[in-house]
Amino acid sequence: MGVEDLELYPLFTPDLLELMRQLIPSDRQDAVGIAVVVRARLPE
């Protein structure tokens, strides 16, 4: 997920997004977070 994707989520306020745009190198702004899927099973 990049900075632009995070704009859709409530905790990423305009001030935080602006800070991210300022401080994260532009070539890394399209991958600041990773969405993962985890599966687990409780033992019988």
């Binding site: 409530p10 905790l11 401080l23 969405a35 985890v38 599966r39 099973r41 409780l42």
Partner: protein, 191 residues
Amino acid sequence: MTRDLMHSAETKELVRTAYAGVDGSSEAVAHKLYAAAELALVPRTSVEGALGVANHLRHAAIEPGETVLDVGCGAGIDSILAARRTGPTGRVLALDFLPEMLERTGAAAAQAGLDNVEPVEGDMEAIPLPDATVDHVISNGVINLAPRKARVLAECARVLRPGGRLTVSDLTVDEEELPPEILTHPATWAG
């Protein structure tokens, strides 16, 4: 420990305030994560309020008759989709700590003609369900919001029946890649 608890309360309040103000304008999230055929099964209010980070349901083998717990149901998109899979012999317990979200999920379930979605108000760090009563725990982009994530996972394990499954999608970051000003920003405490 006192500091942790203070930090925990601040984080929860931050999340509560941010998510209670959600105005249903995140439809782009739904279209990015879900197929049109999936979205056709869900009322528009849930689609407009989608705030997940992945489509974990594609990896979740939810069977008819199962009891599913959706941790942090939000506007209800995953609860609705899961309830269609469990069918009328199963049920989805839609857990959220925001009454606003529970109302949206309940209304969406009613609109979808589903009577097997049960809104449950509660904190994911202290799930208000008995031990070993759930077949499948799902959650989408929510556990990262908890101040004590290990506590949430312990609670999920507690409510699962032996052999029960957990299918969770969430957001993670590489702390080495982000500047300290970002990592210490109040809004990223939750993540």
